[in-house]
Symmetry: D4
Subunit: 253 residues, 8 copies
């Protein structure tokens, strides 16, 4: 319920066409669907401008399917199922099909599957993605799939780690001319600082858990990105390709 | 042995009807049963007012069964087996049946099973449970099962995370009118602060290990709840639905 | 604005005596006073049942004085200034006096001062406080001062650490018969487990930063209390005597 | 040296008007001034679009003054001195005056001083700032001073912590209509999640070291913001008001 | 080579019966057997008074067997294989049998197997073992098996956690009269403080990884034991039942 | 109250010479003196065999003086004041003098003062102390002062770090023939492993906060000592020279 | 492209034989091959003097095979596949064979396989390797395999932990006369300090994750090595045998 | 005592010119001077090839002076006093002068003073030093002073952080042609990876505590350097400029 709707409702109360108690009830209830185990937020897309995403881990295949179906039927924007395992993907796609929708686009990388229904229309902003190594690809791929849901077609430069800077410099025009850049890197995460130093565009850094030993499952990259000597680099959680894509969508509205 | 019993015993010594050495022996021995691998505490229910609970992990199925049987036979209150795997559940239920008891109520959620025998009679206090997301449900379900052992019938509001506050606000009467509220949340655990801000009732916060990357298996939610800007929120250990239920039982005696 | 007020206001809209736009404005605005650097929450006492407390650190003496004065004038319940240094205490007491109030009660312990105005009327519940050592007293004293604001007169048992259990056992009736117990302990924090084992009352544990080396400024006590083998013990943040008092106030409403 | 300049220089080599060795030297040398203890980067503003900022800690007053003077003389954009102590502020302002510049604007808050020379012309974007408590103001003030260097005039909503949500909701239009929002919060940092849930704009979260005990000098807020259940919230380092302002400048170019 | 042997050798050099170069070579070489992948220390028992122990993890079954055989043949004291899996146990026992030794005594508990050959003759010192819960038994059992290698016959009191202190108090004579006490506890590890408070004997505390969530795999118990308010409690590493037994052997030589 | 006293008291009840209520009161009360801020444990020396020690930090000079005086008057064994600052030392010594006692022996090292009254009679056991560097001396000196209270006269080998092993080897007889060895080391704490490898005696390792950077205030030495490859080394808390001395006293009773 | 090539190219521009735009393009592009998922750095060997290594984890067998084949065909130096699983090894060897190369040398230890093609010619420098225990061998073996790629034939002294120092002293000539020493140790990592104390050669320390409990997966050894009291010891990441070998190759160029 | 001396001594025993007991005594005693609080290692320079360094913190001015004097008189190589405060510097220089030596060279930077006596003769190797920012200079200056003791004259490139890569690239010949490079960087420490990527020389990385918030006093830089994607970079402890210089001295012997 946005401000206009609230204004209209109160007008109806003033006009005597809506009893006050009914207004009271409405004010308290923004739209969501209570499935018992989940309260599906049909209002989020309006409020945040983001598609609805169903996070797979911790949900049964049936729960995934039910939420996806609810979102496909009640909303009309993009719907995402993220970090889904095979059973969850299968259940959700079946439920979508039963409800008369197509079975979505599956992006599977490194054991993480993202499923997308009803992507937003294409948008013109140029989003660049840069990864430090091949092991960062699954996180970058999740990011790409979510960006696609928003209508973006990101350009991905893979394997540009700072130990061989010329690999990044070779594509520096792509980075420098992008409207936003997502840097996906594990190990020491130094790539974020270097990219932040060569572009004036917003840089969203995603630390990944790639690396071993003193990389501490992404903590090292996370801390390095937060302490970047390149000003204005922002950071999302470890392996959070989904969050980086949402951050880009916020800033390229 | 409570104070009255101690007084009576000393009276018997004074009256010459109990030899001093016997009193000495009694004073040193409050009731428990030594099964070799476990000292079953038959005194705990009186002392703490809590049912006896058998914690599954680290015990063999036979050990679980033996302790459950001991408690069912010697005590007369509620008995719980928590965090049990399939073999433990099966062994304990068989042992209960062999000893002439029913085979208990099993609550299984997210791989954690709680088994309950002889629940306490229903109690009138209103206990509210709120979870941030669907992935928090297994912990909330353990909490619910243990509350049931105490005779409570908690109302559970699932999936009320702060990113869609209207989902919580829609049920705010339930939260505001409860005698105690248990908040179960992973990720950043912000829900505890928000709930603490809208109710004057005791709030017991349970951080969960739901979330990934920078959620650090529940540490982030734990620290957030401990640092809550809502005054008087208390916290139990990560994923400790059992502990939250016991805390509620203590404060709604 | 509670539900009744909202209902009345909507009734006025329905009756035509209040224009809808005015109602819209009201719904959005619960009472608080914007001092520029602070939004003083005049609604908190009703909503949470807690007195207003002004947290000193990070505020200038003038800011402390202004918020205290605002609360004394607009509200009518207890007002607290916590963790105040000398300059803050002096400024706040002067401002109170200028505004025609008394200059409050100062509890100063270990360098932390709490100032209290208009304590709530005495309440009958028995609150017990137990500390492990003398170094825990400043935190316990903050807790006591805040409990006094709520009208409680806690009994404090100081220096009952588990290395000399008989010191606790000597006062065990006090602990066992309390309606709520606050345990304040640094070092390994074991006292919370022992107290939790001998009483059925709610136990709120406050880890303190007392101790050195491997006590890690309270982290050890915090983790120990969260992992307590006594069921249903709840925990607040390190050195958070204020929070423990508020938790007690919630559960002894 | 941007691409066009490089192209021209190579054209000169081709035309024989520039010896190859000279070109080689140029390619290697983008403009900076080597002061011995510092290499002042005159190219950064062009490359990153950011003003030059001199970070005070670890520099002597003389070093601060020398770098500020160098930047004021060789560049023509905004110049900032951040986190400066009194001696550094004094030295830098004197040096600026001696070099014929004005003595800048000083923003001093909570012991941190920011000095600004030659702010950029005013820009129209609406930037919102929200703090959880009064103790977060010094960080927010640094952020504001840096935003002013870029030409932004941010609106600051202070003291909107989630324990009294109505304080935030009262100003929700300001938040919802901003082009970018900076959330500054210590303790559990939950405000970032709540703000992220009510706006579609980019949200840059700054964890602060405000709070004590389990707030762990900002670590708790940092982790909470990184784990936010509101999608697309990005985070900068602890107390890094400067970085948040730079991030905003990147995304509102 | 002890001091006497060195003296004799130098005497031989002085007597001309041993060439200096030979002495030089001897001085450099204390007895050990180089198996390529391991240097078996035949001197340790003399030097440290401890039996030789082969730590299983990271060794192949063949390597375990080879070292065990080497020790059985060249030394004449107790030999232990610790933390062995089934294949390692089998290989080592076969090798022992082939070499004409018995196949040892296997203590298997919680997935950890200890195998013992040639235990030392019985010793009279009374060693007490106390565990907090049943889940601590595997570590206590490893400790017991190693103590048996030294000739001790420890008395084990299982499941004496501080939440039911009377279970410990019931056996307090056993604890108070022991020559050394090993306390094995997970969760918050408070048992070490309580035991340390009731006995004047040496107390060796072993934190275990039993517990979940905020027990952090034994870190909480470890820190608690190191910060114990009972003076003079010493600590070994997490789950290190072997180390605790060796510590006891050192102090009851 | 030891077992014999309890037995006698119950005999009196049986004989009718002591009323049961009086016995009840006695059983509950082992001897301690309640000073309000402290419960002075007059029973500890009997129970644990340790002198009474007053830990300075967190106590006012007056509190230190009061506890010391109480212990000097009511007990007859050694009394220690540890980690005392100048004011505490002065107050305690004055109080002792006023009460007719001498003013104790002060050991001051690195800013930590230990004061000792009424040391135990000399004992014959040989205790060796080894430090890795000069910066470890204050902790070693605290340990020595406490050992003196027990009647030990420890031999201290200072500055024997493993980077120059011959310095330790030169005194290896002292180490090898001691009845117990205390190793005091910061940085990486490797000395504990080396000493543990050359003696069969009990080794108590004290990690110190000496070192900087990656020594992390003693955490590195602590972890290294807990993970020592020399079997049976035990560890006390960081900088806990007092605890190490008490541990030695327990094992050389 | 080294400096000479750049100089020549610019000479061609000056001579008019190369158009400026072509030079511009060249300057930006140092040689690498873009395989889509990886940018194979054909320049690294020249720039860093190191062989190309393909890190297995996170790559599919096909990706491993493609990169290995690319390197074998385009470069002419050593090629390594590290930390490969069976499928990766098989795929890479097949691809090498198909491309007309031999199938390489496989070193497999503790589940980690390293495959080597075209090792460098033998080099004369003496590299010593020392491990603390048998469990450190897999890391040492990876290090050895990589050193072999560089042409070194390291001498390995296994199982020389400091608890039995004579095992190291027996081979002290090997250590003392080496041109560089790699120390591989888990647990407390003290071996690095001892080796650093007996040789003047460069010491590269590799902490391993061998050990359990308080060894914290190599963190304890890492911190200990970084805090070593032996001056000038350098450290690489946990379990990073590859990195240690590369460090040796850098310093023995 | 080196091997030759040992051989000679044994020859004397064989020749009857030295009694065996005397030889025994000598074998046990390598040269060091026992000052009571310190064992000055006169053998270290021969054994490790490093000058003797006296680490100031934790030593009294008198102790510093005594050790410095001892080293100046008994040894004949370079002597260093590091991390000294004003009183320590003054005392040591006076003691040196009294003993007939010059008063040394003082390098003072950021509050840390290094004093050097009798530097080694100049050496030809080229050592490059690179710092990320001005705040890293004190650590780099300590490194430089220690390198000077060894006879090196390092070239320092200050303020080359990766956010402005051209500053490093401008001096890339200096870096690329050095025989060893020391990288000194705080914040995220990315400079080590970039430098490691452009040179084949040994790279010793020193993390510094420069930076704030998420830089965590150097931990972030430390972890980043250990996880560097540039192969073969080695790391010393936080702020350990001394250690880096010693590492360089080892590898450029």
């Amino acid at each position: 319920m946005d401000e206009q709707a609230l204004r209209q409702m109160l007008g109806e109360v003033a006009a005597g066409t809506r009893p006050p108690d009914d207004a009271l009830r409405q004010i308290r209830r923004l739209p969501f669907a209570d499935l018992g185990f989940a309260r599906v937020d049909h209002h989020r897309r309006l409020r945040q401008g983001l598609p609805e995403a169903v996070y797979g881990p911790g949900k049964s295949p049936d729960q995934c399917a039910a939420v996806v179906a609810e979102l496909l039927e009640r909303d009309d924007g993009p719907v995402l199922l993220t970090r889904a395992d095979d059973a969850q993907v299968k259940a959700a796609r079946s439920a979508a099909a039963e409800a008369g929708h197509d079975d979505g686009t599956v992006v599977s990388s490194g054991g993480l599957a993202t499923v997308l229904w009803r992507p937003a229309p294409p948008r013109e902003s140029r989003v660049g993605g840069v990864t430090a190594g091949t092991a960062d690809l699954p996180v970058a791929d999740e990011c790409r799939a979510v960006l696609a849901a928003y209508g973006f077609a990101p350009m991905l430069l893979a394997d540009c780690g700072v130990a061989g800077l010329h690999r990044l410099l070779a594509s520096i025009d792509t980075v420098a001319s992008a409207d936003a850049v997502v840097v996906v890197a594990g190990m020491e995460g130094a790539l974020a600082s270097v990219v932040g130093g060569v572009t004036a565009a917003p840089v969203v850094a995603v630390p990944t858990s790639a690396g071993y030993g003193a990389a501490f499952e992404g903590v090292t990259a996370l801390l390095g990105m937060l302490s970047s000597c390149a000003s204005g680099v922002t950071v999302v959680g470890i392996d959070n390709g989904f969050g980086a894509a949402c951050a880009v969508a916020r800033l390229l509205r």
